[in-house]
């Protein structure tokens, strides 16, 4: 048996059937692929185009504002020191205390901001690479702390050259993609009209805490299907494994009630919300919870509606100014178009990063979660043109802002030479060498390098390794955990790797190992697996927080 499998692997490239029954695995994976790639394969062509956007090492990152607000005042300089306060080395996972934010960051914030403004005004002509790099230090991710930032006026100081270069790059790639004939037949043939549009529950909550009675308007069967359906598995975002929604347990009902309470209180207690969200957010309240956790929505209920309205308008102001003017085509609101616009505006505002493959993946969870507010049941193959203009605009703008907040926390993943990723992969190696020497030595013995498999884990936040529903669950926690997407992700990756230790140790050559690591069989994973993974990650974090020297040299 083993020999046969091995032979198959030798001859047949990816030994997928080994772990992933073709019928199930391929389908799910295909759907994921469709989402990830359809039209979002938004590459910067080879050398020529990419060149002007290269930049050297980035400044130290600023943290998302909500954390700043929540954590300011605590003065621990290092992650490690803080843990000395904690009794015992291993902490329970749920209801975790959140590590405080590094205060240096809040201090720097003001300084950097003024500095950057000066710099961006100074921009003239970049004659050398370094000059260019200096001049285009990303000015646009800084003023992210409160609602007043990203004002149109500050945006206009953006170096127009950079903006033009980015725009040119992006549009070039788009037109290339658009011109391409559809090489594959549309697979979406007969789709029954089981889609329903419901009133956004968070909007409902915003205006009044009426809650449970959502308006449901059945929709007609869509006239035109998108060429490539790209939204997968939405029906199963939170309902692991099962096809229908399982009945709510008492515990789940209590949790949902707790969330509703928190969300509707005059000033939502964000600390408490994070605590509650760490073990997963009920899907009914996920959209509004995510908006709050990301720092996009203010804690004060009275200000929410206005803020949303203003931010949405602001986003479409960018679109008008930077996208429409270069894009004569009539607006089409297909998934692809929406994603394109979001990524375009992000790229133009972040010239130090530009667009990196992988960023497109990061829009998806937000988009799907915000879409789920309006669309009941299966969103796969859902034709977005069935939604009203208002709904679409809200989903698009909210996805943009929340994605921006997320990317702010991991921007050095995507700047020149991707230093953030390099560092994290190194840290992962270091960590694994401490927590599981056997696995580590196994890799060394067969000359497997961590970069060979973990690069993608970092670059795409494990999104390519997990079903979308799992990513969404994972992000509940990442958004509740300080530096979730950056620091905590490292421990999740370590836990994820060790999860497969038996399979890893069973492989006895380079090839088998790499094939395994590139195709880890997670297709049936659900909330339970992610919960265990997060628990283990949390344990690791605290284990090493107490003994930093185990981890950092």
């Amino acid at each position: 048996m083993a020999a046969a499998r091995r032979r198959e692997a030798e001859w047949g490239g990816r030994p997928q059937p080994r772990w992933r029954p073709q019928e199930v695995g391929a389908g799910d994976r295909r759907r994921r692929r469709q989402l990830e790639s359809s039209g979002l394969a938004w590459p910067s062509g080879g050398g020529v185009l990419g060149a002007p956007l290269r930049l050297p090492l980035p400044r130290p990152r600023l943290q998302p504002a909500l954390q700043a607000r929540a954590m300011a005042g605590d003065n621990s300089k290092q992650f490690w020191k803080r843990s000395a306060k904690l009794p015992g080395s291993i902490q329970p996972v749920y209801g975790a205390q959140h590590p405080p934010l590094d205060p240096r960051l809040t201090k720097n914030f003001i300084k950097e901001r003024s500095k950057v403004n000066a710099v961006s005004l100074k921009n003239k002509k970049a004659s050398s690479f370094h000059e260019f790099a200096r001049n285009t230090s990303d000015a646009w991710d800084i003023g992210d702390d409160e609602d007043e930032d990203f004002s149109t006026s500050s945006f206009q100081t953006l170096n127009s050259k950079v903006a033009l270069a980015t725009a040119a790059q992006v549009l070039e790639n788009h037109s290339k993609l658009r011109m391409k004939p559809e090489r594959s037949q549309s697979t979406a043939a007969d789709i029954t009209a089981n889609f329903k549009v419901i009133k956004s529950s968070s909007d409902a909550q915003l205006s009044r805490n009426s809650g449970d009675t959502c308006l449901r308007n059945p929709l007609h069967k869509q006239q035109s299907l998108p060429l490539r359906p790209i939204i997968p598995l939405v029906a199963r975002i939170s309902d692991q494994n099962a096809s229908g929604a399982p009945p709510m347990t008492v515990r789940e009902k209590t949790r949902l009630e707790k969330f509703r309470q928190l969300l509707s209180s005059h000033n939502t207690d964000l600390d408490e919300l994070r605590k509650c969200s760490w073990p997963g957010v009920p899907r009914e309240v996920r959209p509004v919870t995510w908006r709050l956790l990301s720092g996009y929505l203010p804690a004060n209920t009275e200000r929410r509606k206005m803020t949303l309205q203003r931010k949405r308008e602001e986003y479409f102001g960018f679109i008008e100014q930077y996208y429409d003017s270069r894009n004569e085509e009539h607006h089409q609101d297909t998934y692809r178009q929406i994603f394109e616009r979001i990524l375009f505006i992000w790229a133009i505002r972040h010239p130090a990063s530009g667009y990196v493959q992988g960023i497109n993946d990061l829009v998806t969870p937000f988009f799907v979660v915000f879409l789920s507010e309006y669309v009941e049941e299966d969103v796969e193959n859902f034709d977005v043109t069935n939604l009203s203009q208002d709904m679409l605009r809200s989903i698009e703008a909210d996805s943009f802002w929340c994605m921006s907040k997320l990317l702010d926390g991991i921007q050095d993943n995507y700047t020149f030479a991707q230093p953030g990723i390099q560092k994290k992969v190194q840290a992962l190696e270091e960590l694994v060498s401490r927590i599981d020497e056997q696995v580590h030595n196994h890799f060394r013995r067969y000359e497997v390098e961590y970069l060979q498999f973990a690069f993608r884990w970092m670059n795409n936040l494990l999104m390519r390794e997990l079903p979308l529903r799992c990513t969404i669950r994972l992000w509940d926690t990442y958004q509740s955990e300080p530096e979730g997407f950056s620091h905590f992700h490292l421990y999740v990756c370590a836990a994820f790797l060790i999860k497969w230790r038996k399979e890893i140790l069973d492989e006895e050559d380079f090839q088998g190992l790499l094939m395994l690591l590139q195709n880890l069989p997670t297709i049936h994973w659900g909330n339970e697996e992610i919960g265990l993974l997060l628990a283990e990650a949390y344990r690791l974090k605290y284990m090493f927080a107490d003994a930093p020297n185990h981890y950092r040299r």
Binding site: R33, G46, Q357
Partner: protein, 213 residues
């Protein structure tokens, strides 16, 4: 049981984004054309055995690289340990052809002190009506660099097998002639398993005995 192979060659596939590198490799290793394909992030690994002559198998380990400029710092680490490479461009995308030179420059810097045998591949030849690069000019460029040129289509499975096996044969010949040698600390070429050798030496002994009879 291990499959028996004479040599293991490591190959690398490079070229601009969206020229079809991953699809070509997957057609070759999995025998099918993926309807949709993730943009490659960093580097992916594939493998297949090829038979270049009856009974002579070569194990190919193939690195599929991301075409996007931003990943260059990752992908360039893989040149050094490759003995062969497919340099792809898309025949319907002139720019990807113009960048061929740049790709070669890039490899030259990072492959040292070793060498890579490249073949130039004009991909998506099923889209002949949208062709922006003629076969003639591509052949001329290839010849200028001392490479072979081949046109392929992953979608219609044209020349996919040939592109890989021709390159494999070319490398095999160089190895046979001693122009490429197996070196400690270099993954480009590795020699196959000993059982093969033992087996043949036993045969030799047997036949010797027979001759004595």
């Amino acid at each position: 049981m291990e499959a028996i192979w004479l040599y293991q060659f490591r190959l690398i596939v490079i070229g601009d984004s969206t020229v079809g590198k991953s699809c070509l490799i997957r057609r070759f290793t999995e025998g099918r054309f993926p309807q949709v394909s993730d943009p490659t992030v960093g580097v992916d690994f594939f493998s297949r055995l090829v038979e270049i002559e009856p009974g002579k198998r070569i194990k190919l380990q193939i690195w599929d690289t991301a075409g996007q400029e931003r990943f260059r710092s990752i992908t360039r680490a893989y040149y050094r340990n490759s003995v062969g490479g497919l340099l792809l461009f898309d025949i319907t995308n002139r720019r990807s052809f113009q960048n061929v030179h740049e790709w070669l420059e890039e490899t030259k810097v990072h492959v040292q002190p070793y060498q890579i045998v490249f073949v130039l591949v004009g991909h998506k030849c099923d889209l002949d009506t949208q062709r922006q690069v003629t076969r003639h000019e591509a052949e001329k460029v290839a010849a200028g660099y001392g490479m072979k040129y081949i046109e392929t289509s992953a979608r219609d499975a044209i020349n996919v097998e040939k592109a890989f096996t021709d390159l494999t044969r070319e490398i095999y010949e160089l190895v046979k002639r001693g122009e490429i040698t197996i070196q400690e600390g270099w993954e480009g070429v590795k020699s196959g398993f000993v059982p093969n050798v033992v087996h043949s030496s036993e045969e030799v002994v047997k036949s010797d005995r027979r001759c004595l009879c």
